[in-house]
Amino acid sequence: MHTVVLTKGVPDFREGQVSFDEDGHLERGKTPTVMNPNDKHALRAAFQTRVRNGGHVSLMSMGPPGYQEVLQEGMRDVYADDLYLLSDREMGAADTWATAMTVATGIENLETQPDLVFAGFKTADGETGHTGPQTAYCLDWPMVTHVVSLDIDEEAGLLRAKRLVDGDVTEIETVEAPMPCFVVADPEFEPTYRKASHRLEHKQLREETQERAEDYEDVLTVWDHEDLNLDPDYIGLDGSPTIVAGVDPIPKAPSEREATVVDGDDPSSLEPVLDELTPFAAGD
């Protein structure tokens, strides 16, 4: 089994990490870059196949040289056997389409063709959720999205997945797909290890990957557009059909609303509040 997991770096939006300027613009320089949180679910899904079915997990990203540390983070916190970074100036400022093109080429450039490619469900900064499906399209592979649990039948060359229908937890369907296949893991993905041998393997592999992450450069491959034989006109900014017409800052919530002070000790003062709320309680 060879699996590839796609990831990218995003600003660390957690409280205490992220910083904004006075106008509410993100300060990239002051905000650390971390692995897109949703991609960790994808990596966990890939790790599960590694534990249960053996093989090899490659973690791949397209981005600036600093993304090396994002790859290292994935290797340390979850798992990876080796790392691929697709990086040079020509690839910069790519939209989701140009990214998908580049990444798909990266995948095709690997020594062995993977059986599975995993992506996370949308990024914390772009929030588009396009890159994964577009990459599947470039590869011309079947794709299963919103996957919450996964079983591989290697002999039959099939994967069996439970997925959320319409991304909704209330409806779950089981699907089968031939491999190679593209899998988008849902944030609800739960790896399961019900066998002692799997847990022992998990424990061992976790120890190994943490050690490996300390010297991650040894297993890191960096490819530029020439390595991938990519025409600069089709990648990066030049290859991006998306036109960003403008960015509307989200206005701050007006703080000077009329406020009514309610005395909590006086039940009668709560009546008007209840009257106000009643229509919402009905669900409209």
Partner: protein
């Protein structure tokens, strides 16, 4: 036949008993899987604790795990005293002879550190056999096929088959219960241990006890400072902390409706403690656990089918007078069980391991330490009501008191006699009456002022925050008659305290009033007390859930 995952040996629990069994199985080349429910071995475990290496024992912890003393223990115990307390009068005896009797060495330990060190070794050793150690797995019971035990069932894993299942799952062993070997019915088969760990700079420890860094002390306490509850207290020096605790007969706690945390506080605030605790008492952990009394609870045939039971799970916890020996026996039993399996396997009959194990326990003299003949002959008789009454009366009479004064040296010698202390009956006489008289007649007044203010129960609970998951204990009978004892006996509950596990209340129903008990398992420290003193359906929480001790 169902297609189960299979290992040659499954060891349940990685305390000293499980660790010893696993290490010895691995050394014999047996493919061994160890399952431990804590997030880390030791995160569930509490002991006093002094671990003894007995000269007469076939296995010791440092024999099985070289470097144990350098890496995993705290301080060697070089001095051992017992203090007989009567009010503020104290008579101290040096019980070094009893301590050193049959002792190659004895070290103080903190279980989180000790057990997680052992677990790392165990994982390395068992890994080489094709097995290994897994934490956060709660073994729920025995897997049976055609009525015969063939493996274990788990909450987090599918059932696992094995040629031998070693139940080293400690006190309140769900496996021993499932096999019908243990019930949790009689409070007089158990002690309850409660303990506080107080932080202290190593230099301060050295100074207050007047010891070097490679020395340590053990102090035991008995007499009238525990409201007549049968049992005693202890204080042991660690590298950078003190372990201070109490061990009482559970039936006595139940009868007296004693509050365990208050008994601990009585010890902590006694003037005698001032010299050691100083003005800067900082409690870092409060913990509790049941302790079996081997004299009554040790299984004479601790096995069934492919199951062998070792350590606390088999009741192998010896109270040698005031000295508590559980960990060393768990180690010996675990290693003997492994040896028995290796023997049985080499004879081509692995399923006879249990029988061999039982024989080894007898041949190696372990059984006689756990259930001494001298206690059966003398101690048990002493527990009969009339005799106890007479003995108490004599001891308290002028004659008795005169005897004590006249024979001070003899009393000290008696405390140091392993045979005599093993005969001690479970009555007030040795635990309360005699020590009190000793204190009164021979003791000196302690004039130090003790400024220690032990934390309130809710602060103690507050320091132990954790996710218990689903409630793991169910109240079967919530009437006060059936389960009310838990309100006081539970070490994290107290009468008129709302923040603990057990509460009692008067409830009006159909015109009459009922005295009922309610249970909230959130603050539970999994001590096991209410499994015995209340009518409950008692299980351990799921793997990784529940209390997590940092010290132990």
């Amino acid at each position: 036949m169902t297609d189960h995952e299979r290992y040659e040996a499954v060891v349940v629990g990685c305390g000293p008993g499980g660790a010893a069994a696993a290490a010895n199985l691995a050394r014999n080349g047996v493919e061994t899987l160890v399952l431990e429910r804590g997030v880390d071995a030791g995160s569930k475990n509490v002991s006093g604790g002094l671990i003894y290496a007995e000269e007469s024992a076939p296995y010791t912890i440092d024999g099985l795990f070289p470097d144990f003393r350098e890496e995993a223990s705290e301080r060697p115990v070089t001095e051992n005293y017992i203090h007989n307390v009567a009010g503020d009068k104290v008579k101290t005896f040096d019980i070094g002879d009893l301590h050193h009797h049959d002792t190659a060495w004895a070290d103080s330990v903190l279980r989180r550190r000790m057990d997680s060190w052992l677990a790392r070794r165990v994982h390395e050793l068992t890994r080489e056999t094709g097995g290994g150690l897994l934490t956060e797995v709660h073994v729920t019971g025995l897997l049976r096929e055609k009525g015969e035990i063939v493996g274990v069932t788990c909450e987090e894993l599918d059932p696992i088959e094995a040629d031998i299942v070693v139940a080293a799952d400690g006190v309140n062993s769900e496996l021993a219960r499932d096999a019908g070997l243990m019930d949790w019915e009689d409070p007089d088969e158990w002690f309850q241990g409660v303990k506080a760990v107080a932080e202290m700079d190593p230099d301060v420890v050295d100074e207050r006890f007047d010891i070097d860094e490679d020395e340590g002390e053990a102090h035991l306490f008995s007499g009238d400072l525990f409201d007549g509850v049968r049992g005693g207290g202890f204080l042991y020096t660690n590298e950078a902390s003190l372990s201070i605790g109490t061990v009482f007969h559970l039936d006595s706690i139940a009868e007296e409706r004693a509050e365990p945390q208050e008994l601990l506080d009585s010890l902590l605030t006694h003037p005698l403690m001032a010299q050691w605790l100083g003005d800067d008492y900082h409690e870092v952990e409060y913990s509790a656990k049941l302790v079996p009394d081997s004299k009554k609870a040790a299984l004479t045939a601790p096995h069934q089918d492919r199951l062998v039971v070792v350590g606390d799970a088999a009741g192998q916890m010896q109270a040698q007078g005031p000295i508590i020996k559980g960990m060393n026996h768990a180690v010996t039993a675990g290693a003997l069980a492994a040896e028995a399996f290796a023997d049985a396997r080499s004879r081509g009959d692995p399923h006879r391991a249990g029988e061999f194990y039982e024989k080894k326990l007898h041949d190696e003299g372990v059984m006689d330490k756990l259930r001494p003949t001298s206690y059966r002959a003398v101690g048990k008789i002493g527990e009969l009501g009339p005799i106890d009454g007479v003995a108490n009366a004599v001891a308290e009479s002028a004659v008795g008191r005169f005897g004590v004064r006249a024979a001070e040296g003899l009393v000290e010698r008696a405390y140091n006699s392993p045979t005599l202390v093993s005969m001690i009956p479970d009555t007030k006489l040795p635990y309360v009456t005699l020590p009190t008289i000793l204190g009164e007649e021979l003791g000196e007044r302690v004039t130090d002022e003790n400024h220690v203010q032990p934390p309130e129960l809710d602060d103690r609970i507050g320091d132990l925050t954790y996710d218990v998951g689903d409630p793991h204990i169910e109240l079967v009978d919530n009437s006060f008659e059936a389960s009310g004892t838990a309100v006081t006996a539970c070490p994290v509950s107290a009468k008129d305290f709302g923040g603990g596990c057990y509460r009692d209340e008067m409830v009006q129903t159909n015109g009459h009033e009922e005295h009922l008990v309610s249970l909230d398992t959130q603050p539970c420290v999994e001590c096991g007390t209410c499994a015995v003193v209340a009518d409950t359906d008692w299980e351990h929480p799921a793997g990784g859930k529940g209390v997590e001790f940092e010290q132990g």
